[in-house]
Each structure stands twice: as C-alpha cells, then as structure tokens.
Symmetry: C2
C-alpha cells in the first residue's frame, strides 16, 4: 500500500490530512538562534541531539546554523543521519552486539562516528569491530554524573577505561561523555545549577586525573535543554548536547528560570494538527484519534486567521502557549489515516 | 537506507537483533482457541480488533480459526487489512474529512468495509462519498454505552440516526456498535458483569425500538477482552470485538476472574527481546534501549534452555508471568538498531 504524505508544499492548513506534525518554521529557527545567543562568548560547541527529530533535513539546518554535528541514541539513527548528509555523529550510548558493531564500524568508513563505552568488554568489542573494518574509531568514556543509568564512576574507573581505549590500536580516546540527564527537569533554576556544579566538579576532576597520566581529553560532552547554560559557563564542558530546545515540550516549559517564572528560553514550534471525529453537542464531549501527549491550545489562537472547519480541532501543542503565531511551514511525520 | 528485519526464519534466539518483538506461537494459538472455547454454545461471532497487531498475517490466522473478519481503528488500518487479504473489515470509529472518506469508499469497492456514525453530518458525508464511488456502504450507529467518548445516546437518538442511514440511497443500516470500553479494565468480575448488564439493557432497548419502527438490526457489535463472556451470554450482542486476548497485556492480566484471582483466561504471548547495553557490577544497575512498557520476566524463565549471553537481557513480557515456555516462533515488528 502507498502511504501518502499528509501535506504538500504550499497546501493550505485546512487541506492537510490529519494527524500531521506541523512545524512553525519561524519559531523553530528562532529557537536555533536563541541557543547560539545564550551561549555567545562561551567556547563550547553545539552538537544537538537528533533523537528529538531523527530527521536529517533538520540536522542539516542545525549544522548550517553552527552545530558541529549531531548526537544520536543508536546505530540506526546514526545511519539515518550519515546517509542524510551529516558528516559528524556521536552515538551517546554504548553499542552491544556483533551486528550493531559491524554496522557502526561500516558507517565510520564514510563519516566521523563516535561512540561511548563504560566497560572493558565493550572496548574490546569496539577494537575488534574497528580492526575488522580497517578504521580508527573515536571512543568516549561515559561517566556517571548521578543519573545512575550508564557510565563508569568519575576518577580512577574513568582513567582505567580511557587508558584501555588509548592503548587500543584501532580506537582513539575522544573524551568524556558527562551528561547529567536527571538534572534536566529539576524545576528550580538553583536546583539545576547545583546539580550541574557537582557534574562539573566530577568531570573536571576526571579530566585533570587523565592529564596527570598524560592522557589528553579533547572533549567533555553533555548538557541538555534544561541545563546547558551552566555547562556552557563551566570552563570544563566543551560541547553541548541539547536536543529538545528546537521544538520545546510541555515538561521543559514547566522548568523555572532564574527569575522563578516558567522558562521563556525557547518556544513551542511543533504541533499536532488533528481532526475531531465525534462531538456530542449535548455533553460537549469530543474525541480525536490523535495522541494525548500534547496539551491543547485554546481555540482563539487559530480563529483569527484560520477558523477551524466544522469537526476540526485546533492543533495541540507541546507547551500549550496561547499566544504563538500560526505555523508558516509544514513538516510531515505522522502516519495519516 | 535499508532496514534489515531483526530475525529470519529458523534463526536461533541469540542471533536475533534487538529490540525485537517475539511471539510465542504456541501461546498465541492457544489464546485464539481459548476464545472460541469460552464462547462455545453462544451464537455470537468473533470479529477481533486488529488494532492489537495491525498485521494482516495475524488477521488471516484469526479468520482461519473462525473470525468473520476484523475491526480496525481507522482508514489506514483498513487499507492494510484489505490489501493484506482480509475481505470483511469494520472501522470501529467515525471517519471525518473528504480525503479519508474517499479512501474508505474506494476500499469498499474491493471488500466489505463497514464504518460507524454518531452524527447526521457524518451520515450525509458518508452518503456523498459512497454515491461518488458508486458503492453501497454498511454503516453502524455507534451508541454511547457509558464511556462518554463517541456515540449517540441509546433509544430515540439512535433511532433517528438509523432512520437517516436506512433512508440514504448508498448506505445500508448494518446495526449498532455498542462497545463499552470503560468496562474492560474494571478489576472485579462482578463490577464488569454489572457494567455490561447495563450496556445489554441499553443495546437491547434500542434494538427493540428500531424493530417497532420496522428497522431491522442485523448486528450488535461490541465487547472486549475484559468483558466478552458477558456479551456472549447476553442474547443481545451478536458480535465480539476482542483484540488484546491474542497477546494479553499486563493490565488485563490484573483483572480478576469470577473466583477473585487474576484472570487465567489467556496467557502472554508477545515479548520484547532486548539487549542490556550497560551493566555496572558494583551497583547492579542495568540499562536497555528497549521500551519500559513491559515488565520483566525473571531470568530463570530463560536460563533452562537458553542462557542469556553476557550483556543480553531476558525478554520482557506484557504480563510478567514467570512460568511460560520459551518462544517457538518469531515475528518481527520493532525497528532494530
């Protein structure tokens, strides 16, 4: 069967098939520029996390506006990015299993593809795959910043693993991944600041320990949409992995800024355009087949320039702000029907 | 880029790329047979809901074992089923919008495709689309059974809509959809029994009202995995829409049976085969990129015949039962990498 895209270029909004993901391109580009503005003066580079969009077109736009490359979560995402034209990709996770390692090494023949490790057995498997493919693979030691998911502990354990990587013939020690995921959605500005201060201590201490053992640490990568300003100002981190800032979402929108008010650092730019399929006049009930993940935008947002057709719902947004302009561009991702 | 399937026929489990959805075919087929056994002696027919699997191969297996066709949630699912060989499909929702109605009517040129309505404007739109396509479309009046999502109220409102459908040249009044969704996960057996007793009253009352106005009601369709035994025994419902019974899930597994114990009507047959990508010996932490939707099965389930390779996780299941046999068949659905 053929899947038709829900929209074509130039199509008016009320002809777009639903459900459709709709990007407000102006807001999207403002978000990209705002990140650059917020870190102006800091030497950190931006390597946005592409798990937010998984879309090479968007990744290329980020690179065009200054990103040095992107992050991805897994090998298949790295493949999508490299085949889509991105030349520098970091897999921000461990990769396990012979098939995936072969794909990773094969991909690294055509682009710079970095990967994380937090165990000696992984380093051995990465070395074997890189050797088999005849490449040299950049490997980052993932350090546990307190999220207690992946990562070796800071200090000695990180030194041991970095030494093993540096000694492997087909691997290059590329730096530390020091992402503090569990700090991103701490509500208070000062809570996040303190959590990142600890991460900075741990990462800096580890970097200095490596230096004392003559292992240079060219990159310390981490940070997210909730905390990037702290890593950018730290003097320790060299690279930011923010992803959600391009679209924002409801939960990041509830983070408080320095002034105690919900953050205005970025604005929602991704919306779901949905159709109400049933509305009972007597009860005021309505049903839509679209996801409930996003809160609704009040009707009035849309009524000025684009009155909803009967039975058609206003778009729902990732952050529920009532005062955004209507979308000026479209990107389709949702399966229609 | 090419997406490789995570498994091929005959491949041992430990060569399957992860994440992969794994079906225990024996358990799956037992579930299909158990539904038939549970309703043996009742005249109701089975029209399983294909939203559970969205897979024509599975739908064909259900038809082979006695189902008269399948239900789907929306037009694109109906297309997948018809193009996959299913000859009788019911869209258990309202369909809104010219594009989707055209696709629906076009599909009804090659298979029996029914659809629900709960508003006069929908009936007019369905009539227009069916007339344009030169077909006659079976339309069901959806009746609100208490879930307060879609559906007209029982009695007079249903009669009005059925009359409008019966009078439309290109539509056939096919019956009532009387699905009581909010009763399915009521925990107690008696709670569910009472909720369905009310639904049976409403549906039966509406059917009798239609009969007094010379409108025959050939089908009353509804029921789910949590309640089907009550609808089957009602003498009012003629068709069951159970879907989840083929795989079961953790929440249905918490429903209590007549004896007060968690139901044993069906068994979990769908599992996620995942790989642990990081495991810190000191803390016992482990991380997997697979979904958290399903609870884990204890290790011992797998260790007897298929010891997990290092860094490989036991499959996680939809119901967490510790005593199931290992999978004997494989079906892939997850994106690998």
């Amino acid at each position: 069967m053929t899947m038709r895209p829900p929209a074509e270029i130039g199509m008016p909004l009320d002809e777009v098939d639903t459900p459709a993901l709709v990007i407000d391109l102006d807001a999207f580009e403002r978000n990209l520029r705002r990140l650059s503005e917020r870190i102006a003066g800091s030497p950190v580079k931006v390597r946005p996390h592409a798990k937010t969009h998984k879309c090479p077109v968007i990744a290329l736009k980020q690179v065009e506006l200054g990103a040095i490359g992107v992050c991805v979560q897994k090998v298949s995402e790295a493949e999508a990015m490299v085949y889509g034209g991105i030349r520098d990709v970091l897999v921000t996770n461990e990769v396990v299993g012979r098939q995936k390692l072969r794909r990773l090494a094969s991909l690294a023949q055509t682009a710079r593809v970095g990967v994380c490790a937090d165990d000696e057995s992984q380093v051995r498997a990465l070395e074997a795959a890189a050797g088999e493919a005849g490449i040299t693979l950049p490997v980052y030691v993932e350090v546990n910043m307190g999220g207690n998911r992946c990562g070796v502990e800071p200090g000695e354990p990180a030194l041991q693993l970095a030494t093993q990587i540096a000694d492997a013939p087909h691997l290059i020690f590329a730096g530390l991944q020091a992402y503090h995921g569990s700090a991103q959605h701490l509500r208070g500005w000062d809570e996040r600041r303190q959590a990142i201060a600890q991460a900075v201590d741990r990462a800096g201490h580890t970097r200095d320990l490596l230096a004392r053992h003559s292992i240079e640490c060219p990159t310390i990568t981490g940070a997210g949409t909730g905390s990037f300003e702290f890593e950018a100002a730290s003097g320790v981190y060299t690279e930011l992995q923010c992803g959600s800032y391009i679209f924002m979402d409801a939960d990041y929108g509830r983070n408080l800024d320095r002034d105690g008010a919900p953050t205005k650092a970025f604005e929602p730019s991704l919306f779901v355009w949905a159709t109400v399929m049933s509305r009972r006049a007597r009860t005021g009930r309505s049903s839509t087949p679209a996801s409930r993940r996003w809160p609704s935008i009040p009707d009035r947002r849309w009524s000025a320039t684009s009155p909803p057709r009967p039975k058609s719902a206003p778009p729902t947004s990732t952050a529920g702000s009532p005062s955004r302009p209507r979308p000026t561009g479209l990107a389709s991702a949702a399966r229609s029907g």
